[in-house]
């Protein structure tokens, strides 16, 4: 296949992730490539080798700091079903890395592919459809304070035009998954920080995106609560979703032993399977 549909298999949940393939996951994965012919998963023995995210010599220079690139010459591949930590000090380029994935910023040079689609040449009107396939979680939760937990999660489905029926079935389901089935009608400020982050995770995955990107998801939380959030992210990863977590939570990275990408002043200094945080305190 030569067209842009060819990324389909790469978004399939990895069997290495250990989870069983459900029909929904397969559909969610297929969404990224938009209605391509469904291939039999068993015919795809080497799906792990097809990257979901490819950075190809990506450099980003902000106009405000022309001599100090936020990212310089990054080349890395992230595969379907992986759980990846992105570590580095403040200002090392983690956020730029994440913002580039959802095409909030464009690379200055190089190419960036998400599911084989080149974000550097992507048309603006396509961007919303890209974002529907990438769940996003941020340090500051980004919840709407005047909407209840249910409404906050439902909002994500509402604004991409999902039917009331889909909302009514999918939202309680995802809230059960994050353990908030009893707090549907609470407002965000009636919840603890950890619970609020769970709501924002629920919102990020309610549309069943094949890729979940988290920017400092535990930055505002205590270690105990952070552990809970990480468990949740691991469970989501186990269903086949590719998870990328930017963090500087040393303990977490060291205890989980997942693939680690380390950024230092804009350059990729380390790419390590079952890695550790590694920077000196």
């Amino acid at each position: 296949m030569t067209n842009d549909m060819s990324q389909g298999p790469s978004m399939r949940p990895s069997r290495h992730g250990g989870g069983q393939l459900s029909y929904e996951q397969a559909t969610a994965a297929a969404q990224l490539s938009q209605s391509l012919p469904v291939l039999d998963v068993d015919d795809l023995p080497q799906q792990h080798n097809i990257p979901v995210i490819t950075f190809d010599h990506v450099t980003k220079v902000y106009p405000a700091a022309p001599n100090k690139p936020a990212l310089s010459d990054i080349s890395v591949e992230i595969y379907g079903g992986e759980f990846v930590f992105l570590v580095g000090h403040s200002g090392s380029g983690k956020s730029t890395f994440i913002r580039m994935l959802i095409r909030e910023v464009k690379p200055t040079s190089g190419h960036l592919y998400v599911a084989d689609e080149d974000l550097t040449t992507m048309r603006n009107w396509r961007v919303p459809y890209l974002r529907r396939n990438i769940g996003c979680v941020f340090q500051d939760f980004k919840l709407l304070p005047n909407k209840t937990v249910f409404e906050n999660v439902a909002f994500a489905l509402e604004v991409i035009g999902k039917s009331r029926h889909v909302i009514k079935t999918q939202v309680p389901e995802v809230l059960r998954l994050v353990g908030l089935q009893d707090k549907l009608n609470k407002l965000p400020d009636q919840l603890s920080g950890g619970e609020q982050q769970r709501v924002s995770i629920a919102r990020a995955i309610v549309n069943r995106p094949p890729l979940l990107v988290c920017d400092e998801p535990t930055g505002n939380l205590d270690p105990q609560t952070s552990r809970g959030i990480m468990d949740l992210l691991e469970r989501i990863n186990a269903t086949g979703t590719t998870v990328l977590v930017a963090t500087h939570d040393r303990e977490m990275v060291d205890s989980m032993r997942r693939r680690v990408l380390a950024l230092d002043r804009g350059t990729l200094t380390r790419d390590q399977n079952r890695g550790v945080y590694g920077f000196d305190a």
Partner: protein, 302 residues
């Protein structure tokens, strides 16, 4: 379809959220459209009056009281033969007085104590108003007219025709038209600025929501929808108010003006009014949409 309902619900919510600015833009649109409407109707009325006057371009040749019937008749026959003349009539002194009594204050007539200062006249209706100058000159050159005219020292004084009035009216209406167009452009600009401002405030109040909408992949059209709808809603309400007031003016004020200025024709057809109202509604809608689209532009960069 569902999203249309959503847009509508959200735009109504925007109303209550920002009542004062919403009212501000509605009132601005309303006043602008009202003034535009008044100018359009005024223009129509003036056009009507002008064409009425033009239709009525006629030549009146005043005849001396002692003119003989045969002279009058030969002059009438001569005028009838001229190019561009439709008909020739004769108004006696008594008829002239009666006409005067009807179109003016009858008290003045009563103070005349039975005397009649008005001259008899030959009325010339023209088939082609453009030829009025030529016909008038030919009458003036006629020897019979020069002897029997009301004022033999200056025959031109006894010949009245409406050309000057028409020309002056045209100059006036042109001025009114230019001022009207300038004013309309200015008003549309002001209305645009106001709508733009209102929608910008509405966007500012919801920028967190917009950020999340963009994050979860709402299409730009979907994000824009409620704001465009809100702008359009303000405009339509403003337009309806303007149309309502104009309709009120039409039924309450116009008849009064008409009765005060009886000699002018103020009758504007229903179709013209309908057309004006339609123009107002559509231009209001366009102002609303453009104003809010403009406000959205910088907030929707991907």
């Amino acid at each position: 379809m569902r999203s249309i309902v959503y847009f509508f619900r959200e735009s109504l919510r925007g109303f209550t959220r920002n009542l004062s600015t919403a009212l501000g833009s509605i009132v601005t649109i309303f006043l602008s459209l009202l003034i535009i409407g008044i100018f359009l109707i005024g223009g129509l009325v003036v056009d009507n009056v002008v064409s009425g006057v033009e239709d009525e371009v006629s030549i009146t040749a005043f005849v001396a009281d002692d003119a003989s019937d045969s002279d009058i008749q030969s002059l009438s026959r001569y005028i009838e033969g001229l190019e561009g003349v439709a008909s020739v009539g004769f108004t006696t002194k008594e008829e002239a007085l009666e006409n005067f009594r009807q179109t003016s204050n009858s008290d003045i007539v009563d103070t005349l104590d039975g005397q009649n200062p008005l001259p008899a006249s030959i009325e010339v209706e023209l088939s082609d108003p453009q030829l009025v100058e030529q016909v008038a000159q030919q009458i003036l050159d006629n020897a019979t007219f020069q002897t029997i005219c009301d004022n033999p020292e200056d025959p031109a004084e006894s010949l009245k025709y409406g050309q000057q009035t028409v020309e002056r009216l045209f100059v006036l209406t042109n001025y009114v038209r230019y001022i009207g167009i300038a004013l309309i452009v200015l008003l549309i600009f002001i209305a645009l600025v106001f709508i733009n401002n209102t929608i910008r405030l509405a966007i500012l109040a919801r920028r967190k929501e917009i950020a999340i909408m963009r994050l979860v992949g709402a299409s730009n059209g979907f994000i824009r929808g409620p704001f465009l709808m809100e702008g359009a809603l303000h405009a339509v309400i403003g337009a309806l108010l303007a149309i309502g007031i104009l309709e009120l003016l039409r039924y309450l004020v116009l008849p009064k003006v008409q009765s005060a200025l009886m000699f002018l024709n103020f009758n504007v057809s229903n179709e013209s009014f309908l057309l004006i109202y339609l123009t107002l509604a559509v231009s209001g809608l366009i102002i609303g949409l453009i104003g809010s689209a403009f406000a959205m532009r910088r907030y929707l960069k991907v």
